[in-house]
Subunit: 229 residues, 2 copies
DNA sequence: GCAAATTAATGATTTATTCAAG
DNA sequence: CTTGAATAAATCATTAATTTGC
């Protein structure tokens, strides 16, 4: 039986390579249009769906972060054990490439007739799916509008090849202008919706979010109460 | 300017009523098809999109749970303060309605021409969106296949009007047969994919998931191990 | 050298947390 | 302060590596 009906997507080396390259280039949370592009591109190297791309970035990001947390934690513990007083590593971050953000997605130019079977398909259930099917136009950060050029995005951190220091909290906004040639409609996003560039606070000061929860025996108290309101 | 371009959905009383009724009927995590139905139905009473329905159930579920946690926590603390030795509450759970699951979604029969603007629309970004657009057919628990009648689902818990006791771990599988009349294609899901009916362990014994994480100063030990493989 | 059994990676879901409009 | 919207973390489940016995 050819075409193993495997339930999960098995990325080919090429696909993986490209994805990793993109990630290293700063792509972190591609938006719908970008995902479509990426998917279409990668489809050339094998079967793939948008959700795979979505998941991949999601997981990759999360696990990268997790890895760092582990690492830091270990280091921290080690240092704690050593009872030294010197701060771990002064965040080098520095000059590197903060604004050079190169929109890796823009380099995609395939459009091979392989297609990824986008639209149709009578998808069964799947929780998250649902949300999509209705998505008229989500009032989020960016506009995949046609004409407009300089659009600020949110995700897809720029530069910062490999954050291996600790804080690196800030991140350069990037993301290709995108604007695929297909959806050239009006699409003017409502006046609100413009987050202050979140999405990457590695080590927040509060509690959840990116805090190391159990992984490292963090303090984290706070029972139910102290509402932020 | 009529038609306030408000960013968020403002559920009308009718919509809200129906949604709550559904929730009380056991609908907890409607699948795509169900969401479509619900949305189409509710669209009669005002503008609404699938994602609104999706979010609503998501939030309602989460907050109901949160409320319970808070409540339980408070009670627990109170009891702890009382320094009594008697076990809190013997889980009443009992007979209630475990299998009566009435698929509230099935009662929907509108199909009013209001439509909810499902498919089209050149949605900009939105993270989760992406994933959808590709969803060929997600290899998840159920099959929204056409003909087959008795299909087990996963979400949409049955019965259990209001879990206010503690454990209530089990849950009756329910979910309307769904199977919208549109996707009558083949759609034969691969031989694997058949979860043992998860998705609702309110108060698991392990750690995260539905457990009271931090909210109530739970124990929560157990790292990753004891793989079922 | 191969195949069953274990372990490690990682794709896919669900749940919790956070943000911000009303 | 309630709650819709969005993201990130935790978890599950399956596949690929790797080890072990023959």
């Amino acid at each position: 039986m050819p075409q193993t009906p495997s339930t999960r997507w098995c990325p080919t080396p090429e696909q993986l390579m490209i994805l990793e390259e993109m990630y290293r280039s700063g792509v972190r949370t591609p938006n719908a249009a970008e995902i479509q592009q990426i998917t279409a591109h990668l489809a050339y190297y094998g079967r793939i769906e948008g959700k795979n791309v979505f998941y991949w970035f999601q997981n990759h990001k999360a696990r990268e972060r997790q890895r760092l947390r582990r690492r830091l934690c270990a280091r921290h513990q080690q240092q704690a054990a050593a009872a030294a007083a010197s701060p771990p590593i002064p965040p080098v971050a520095g000059g590197s490439s903060a604004g050079v953000v190169h929109p890796a997605v823009m380099q995609l130019h395939h459009h091979h007739p392989y297609a990824t079977s986008f639209m149709p398909h009578p998808h069964p259930n799947l929780a998250t799916w649902a949300m999509q099917q209705a998505t008229t136009f989500p009032p989020v950060y960016a506009a995949a509008g046609a004409g407009a050029g300089g659009n600020e995005k949110q995700a897809t951190v720029g530069g910062v090849e490999e954050w291996d220091a600790a804080d690196t909290t800030s991140c350069g906004a990037t993301a290709s202008g995108g604007s695929s040639d297909e959806g050239g409609a009006a699409l003017q996003l409502p006046p609100c919706c413009r987050r202050p560039l979140k999405t990457l606070d590695l080590f927040p000061t509060k509690s959840a979010g990116g805090g190391l929860k159990d992984e490292c025996s963090s303090s984290k108290s706070s029972s139910c109460s102290t509402s932020t309101n």
